[in-house]
């Protein structure tokens, strides 16, 4: 019987939480964007004229192919995170792309049309130095991989090793480069810094050393940075100290000849290390004798080696970027030079002569909200009339890829900065002009009856006008075929919808680029690149003023902090338009320890941001007189805490009226035993609807809802599986009182934690059972509430009841967050990002420490699920069906105007936006709701009543006559 009930219960629960989408709902409320990351290597598929592929390998260990017409992904391969999956080199030959992965651990060959793996081999250990394709008699058949101590040659067709040879004197010589000119010899170039270059020549056929010699070069420290092979095996190096080029014929000479740049009539910008750039269009032939020499940040020279003499073909000054490209037998040089402040121009030059090719100018528009161009990739092709046409892909500092066709048509841009979102917020969209007009009427002070009437009339007129124009648009659009009606999202037509389901997603990326994305469609509405962001910056985004305070614009503040120095800057902007605010943020000469947003507003409805510096002085932003006065009044009720994990110290401070602070509590966790890994408070915008839970016997168990509660997670310094543990401390952030202290023995991190309402859920790795486990802590005040009107941390003498239960979870997790709704009526779900790319919506109901071991009448009354140690992953709980979110790093939840609906954004390498309905859509009529039936039934009933009334009257009359 119990089992039957259990089954019934399960059925009920399942029915109430199934949230799968129907096939026709796919993509209706959700969208996904896939990214690759900052491009390291890129190659155009030059195999055929009509080819439309560019292959890229990125910093995020992603290897992908992009469609050059649209910028979309053809395919993408995501390798392991970190050095294990790092892409060291990309070589492209015909239909194959060769990748060296993981510091020379693997050599892979991919078929670039469909992205299939041809073969993969594991290379011998040793750190990777260089790789190149090796050809003979115009056919490229091999690839050489140079490692610290050995060189190996592999067949392109199947990856088999042809030969491997140890490098001579590899302890002293640093071999850095490998080169082949297609004559059956493989040159390995090594260096003993500030002494000599060591050159070893191997035979292609059997790996025997043909020649081995060394050349004096005391000025040289790095071959790859300052040398290049030009023409028929001429090793050319640039030296900034002597301002000269050194040349060495690898085949015959044993000494380098020095050519001072002055003798060529050239000058180098003082302090600039000249850079050589050569091109080898075909691996089976020697490189071209033309090469670029960069002599200044914006000056490049096209030089030619002609019979041992260097000839200047052309001087490009100013030139930002240069690149070679080859099509057929023609090699061209593309040069990007600044045109004006808003655009750059790109021109093609013949590599052989340095002459400018006609009609090849291309305009590259510089985005004022973007970074400077960083890298230029050129795809050249032969037109029908045998002239050279080209397209370019430009990578800018903000990791944006822009693809441009002649004469300057931007085909597409990819914002690869979005592959590394650090933090985000969702901001309500503003009201439309007309709505705002009406709102404004209420906001203003009454100024006379007559003017108010006029104002009302005028706003009604505006409304009428808007309605007519809307009707006209409907009529106009109805005549057009459906495909032509486009609903493009622009700043102008962004406005709040009825249920506030469409919001502006403000995303902050690690590169320092900010984005405003429309949450409904995923369109990037605005972007803003912040230059001079420190490399290891920490970001914190805060909404100071929402859109609710018309006519004041909404205001977001981004705190950017250098993790090393602690120095911080503020960027204040409008989250809807992305424009920098005219409000000048305060200068902060001191390192910032803590920032907190107060619910106090200044006269312009901007919330006050408090910044605590390392002298424990507090500064306010905005710091008007009004704000300072308010702060003085409430100073004694403002508390904040600081965490110093290096010393294990948590300390609480109170604000004084003169904006200095005083230390009021201290908790010290000894760092010898355990270290603090995370501190988690509650979200300030969280609402809890019900104060307690109704028990089986109709009494109420009140929740302990302390808004100041902090969950502190510690991990033991001892990592031995038997002795390691993780601790969880619940501390009141105002009084420093330790509410609860627990240790999870034989457990270790990484710990993921969610803290909300009266519960804390955390996930850890159990070293004893070797599995992931979830644990939930719930706090209750008991059956009586101490003070039901307000909560004050200073007046809650009784410690709460603590309940805890743990469960087995069958998967590791990447990130975790709880759903959030407007009023907190809807039941909560946990959104769990799994490493597999799924996002699981796990009802909180399953993580409830009151789940009974033995089912009783009361627990059944309460709808508690009987305890089962394992939490199952049901496939219908995946909210992203087949839309895998790769490497999910964070999940952001925001309430919408509908109580049932919570907006979810998962970000990692990809970005995925959707809506979840934890208690189903109880406040929304279904799509297939039968309005016809309801209204016809109503009408029929109405008429039936009328008729029967009439009949009754007749009957009464008849009876009266009788």
């Amino acid at each position: 019987m119990a089992k039957l009930i259990w089954l019934c219960l399960n059925f009920v629960i399942l029915c109430s939480t199934v949230g799968a989408v129907f096939e026709d709902q796919v993509g209706k409320f959700d969208w996904r964007q896939q990214y690759v990351g900052k491009v390291l290597f890129s190659n155009f598929d030059a195999q055929s004229q009509s080819s439309k592929k560019v292959i890229v390998a990125t910093e995020n260990n992603v290897f992908a192919s992009l469609n050059i017409r649209t910028g979309e992904l053809f395919w993408r391969h995501v390798d392991a995170i970190g050095p294990e999956g790092k892409i060291d080199a990309l070589l492209h030959h015909g239909q194959d792309a060769l990748l060296v992965v993981g510091d020379g651990r693997l050599l892979r060959s991919w078929e670039i049309n469909i992205g299939g793996l041809n073969w993969e081999i594991v290379l011998d250990s040793g750190s990777f130095q260089s790789a190149c394709l090796i050809g003979q008699q115009d056919i490229v058949k091999h690839v050489a991989v140079l490692k610290k101590t050995a060189i190996s040659l592999h067949y392109l067709s199947n990856g088999h090793q042809k030969w491997i040879e140890n490098l001579p004197e590899s302890e002293t010589v640093d071999y850095q480069s490998v080169y082949s000119g297609g004559n059956g010899e493989v040159y390995v170039l090594g260096i003993v810094p500030h002494s000599h270059i060591a050159i070893v020549v191997y035979s292609l056929d059997d790996g025997e050393i043909i020649r081995q010699f060394s050349v004096e070069a005391p000025w040289l420290s790095n071959i790859q940075a300052s040398c290049a092979v030009i023409g028929e095996g001429m090793l050319t190096c640039a030296d900034s100290a002597t301002v000269s080029l050194y040349m060495l014929d690898l085949e015959s000479q044993t000494e380098m000849s020095q050519i001072p740049l002055q003798s060529l009539g050239l000058e180098v910008t003082p302090g600039f290390q000249p850079v050589l750039r050569s091109t080898q269009p075909n691996a089976a032939r020697p490189p071209l004798s033309e090469f670029f020499l960069q002599v200044g940040p914006e000056q490049h020279l096209l030089l030619q080696l002609n019979d041992g003499q260097i000839v200047t073909l052309r001087d490009f000054n100013p030139a930002l970027l240069v690149s070679f490209a080859t099509t057929g037998e023609k090699t061209i040089a593309a040069v990007m030079s600044p045109k004006n402040t808003t655009a750059c121009s790109v021109n093609l030059f013949s590599a052989e002569t340095g002459r400018r090719l006609l009609d090849t100018t291309l305009i590259f528009p510089l985005d004022p909200n973007g970074g400077k161009p960083e890298e230029l990739y050129v795809q050249a092709f032969l037109k029908k009339d045998d002239s050279v046409g080209y397209r370019i892909m430009v990578q800018t500092e903000d990791h944006t890829l822009t693809f441009i066709q002649q004469p300057g048509r931007v085909m597409w841009t990819r914002e690869e900065a979005l592959s590394d979102v650090v933090t985000m917020e969702m901001v309500d969209l503003p009201l439309t002009g007309t709505q705002a007009e009406l709102e404004g009427e209420f906001g203003k002070k009454a100024d006379g009856l007559f003017s108010m009437v006029l104002k009302r009339l005028s706003s009604q007129l505006i409304l009428l006008q808007a309605w007519i124009s809307h009707l006209w648009k409907l009529f106009y659009d109805a005549r057009k075929p459906r495909s032509q009606v486009k609903n493009e999202v622009t700043i102008e037509n962004l406005s709040r919808d009825e249920f506030n389901l469409q919001k502006m997603m403000v995303m902050v990326t690690a590169s320092g680029k900010l984005f405003g994305i429309d949450s409904k469609t995923g369109t990037i509405v605005w972007r803003h690149y912040l230059d001079n962001i420190p490399a290891n910056a920490a970001f914190k985004l805060m909404v100071q003023r929402t859109t609710a305070h018309f006519p004041h614009p909404p205001q977001c503040t981004l705190l950017i902090k250098d993790k090393d120095t602690g120095l911080a800057t503020l960027h204040v902007f409008n989250p809807i338009f992305g424009k920098k605010s005219h409000v000048t943020p305060p200068a902060m000469p001191q390192p910032i320890l803590q920032s907190l947003m107060l619910p106090v507003m200044d006269q312009d409805y901007a919330k006050v941001l408090l910044l605590v510096d390392d002298q424990y002085k507090v500064s306010a932003f905005p710091s008007t007189k009004n704000v300072l006065q308010q702060l003085q009044e409430i100073a004694s009720t403002i508390f904040f805490y600081l965490v110093d994990s290096s010393q294990g110290r948590l300390s609480g401070y109170r604000l004084r009226t003169d904006l200095s602070t005083e230390l009021i509590w201290e908790v010290v966790v000894p760092t010898e035993v355990q270290k603090i890994v995370s501190v988690k408070g509650k979200r300030p915008n969280e609402h809890v609807h019900s104060q307690g839970r109704v028990m089986g016997d109709r009494s109420v168990l009140y929740k302990y809802l302390n808004p100041n509660l902090l969950a502190v997670v510690t991990e033991s310094t001892d990592t031995h599986p038997e002795r390691s543990f993780m601790g969880i401390l619940l501390i009141d952030g105002v009084t420093g009182r330790i509410i609860h202290e627990a240790v999870q023995r034989k457990a270790k991190g990484p710990v993921h934690i969610v803290h909300s309402e009266n519960w804390v859920v955390y996930e850890y790795w159990s070293t004893k059972s070797r599995r992931n486990e979830f644990s939930v802590i719930e706090l209750y005040e008991g059956t009586e509430l101490y003070n039901s009107t307000v909560f004050s941390s200073l007046d809650r003498p009784h410690a709460p009841q603590v309940l805890q239960q743990s469960y087995i979870f069958p998967s590791s997790i990447s990130t975790m967050e709880a759903t959030l709704t407007e009023k907190g009526i809807t039941s909560r779900h946990l959104l769990i990002g799994l490493p597999s790319g799924g996002i699981l919506s796990l009802p909180k109901m399953f993580l409830d420490p009151r789940r009974p071991e033995i089912v009783t009448e009361q627990s059944r009354e309460e709808n508690l699920i009987p305890y089962a140690p394992e939490l199952l992953i049901r496939s219908e709980w995946f909210i992203n069906y087949n839309q895998t979110v790769t490497r999910v790093r964070g999940i952001y939840t925001a309430p919408s105007g509908l109580e049932s609906t919570c907006l979810v954004v998962a970000y990692g390498l990809d970005i995925y936006q959707t809506r979840v309905y934890p208690s189903k859509q109880f406040d929304v009529l279904k799509d297939d709701y039968d309005y016809m039936l309801i209204s016809s039934v109503l009408l029929a009933l109405f008429f039936a009543t009328m008729i029967s009334k009439r009949l009754a009257e007749v009957k009464l009359l008849n009876r009266a006559w009788r």
Binding site: D614, F640, S646, V667, G681, V734, V743, S775, D795, E853
Partner: protein, 250 residues
Amino acid sequence: MALPLTFNIALFYTLFVVLFTDVVFCNNGRRVGDVMDTEFGGFSVPLEHSFEVDDVAQFRVRGALVLKAGREPSVALTQNQLSEEDRAKLKEVAAVDGLYRIRVPRVLLQADRQTERQLEGYLTAFVRACAMVESHLSDVISLHTDVSGYLIGVSIVTLPGACRGTEVEDEVDLEVFNTTLSVMGPVNAPGPETALFLERMEMETEKKGKNPQEQKSFFAKYWYLILGGAIFLVVSSAAQPPAGGGSEQS
């Protein structure tokens, strides 16, 4: 201020940015009261308190905590009475809504040797002075230790905890502390309860095996209901009068 004061106290927005790297000790230059071994195996550390009108902490000895190390550490407290002067001051501090702070030195409860017990620094906690006065000095102090016996935190609450502004007339009420003291170590968090669950499952299957009634088929179990239903149907159809006897109801 439209909101009650107590609500404002709760307005504590804990927006955690970054871990900071520098820490200021609140009371440099003051020596910790000497740790003393007592005859019954424990040792004593001073419990200090401070209440100043200008809220600049000046700690004085309130009493001595006698800690007893061991598997289950226990604690006892011997404390002095408040002097006349202190009582007046406490009431004064309460009048300006000042703080009553306490602190204990960081110690290790488990170590055998005295030298190992003492660590640098203090643990502090506070309560509103008015709460202390209105509760007639009845406070609850708990000391929290971590897994290895280090004291990590101290907390103080008064009973009752509220400040209602009631005058404490009788000076005698503020003479003697009425302290409840406890030492709390961390609780062991439970792991997943697999053993009990399996036991329950086993018991259920066993019960099923033992009780052959449970394994009866649907018809075998509910034959009487089905039979009853069938009889009812037959009877009701038989009892129905022949068609056409529709009663006129108007």
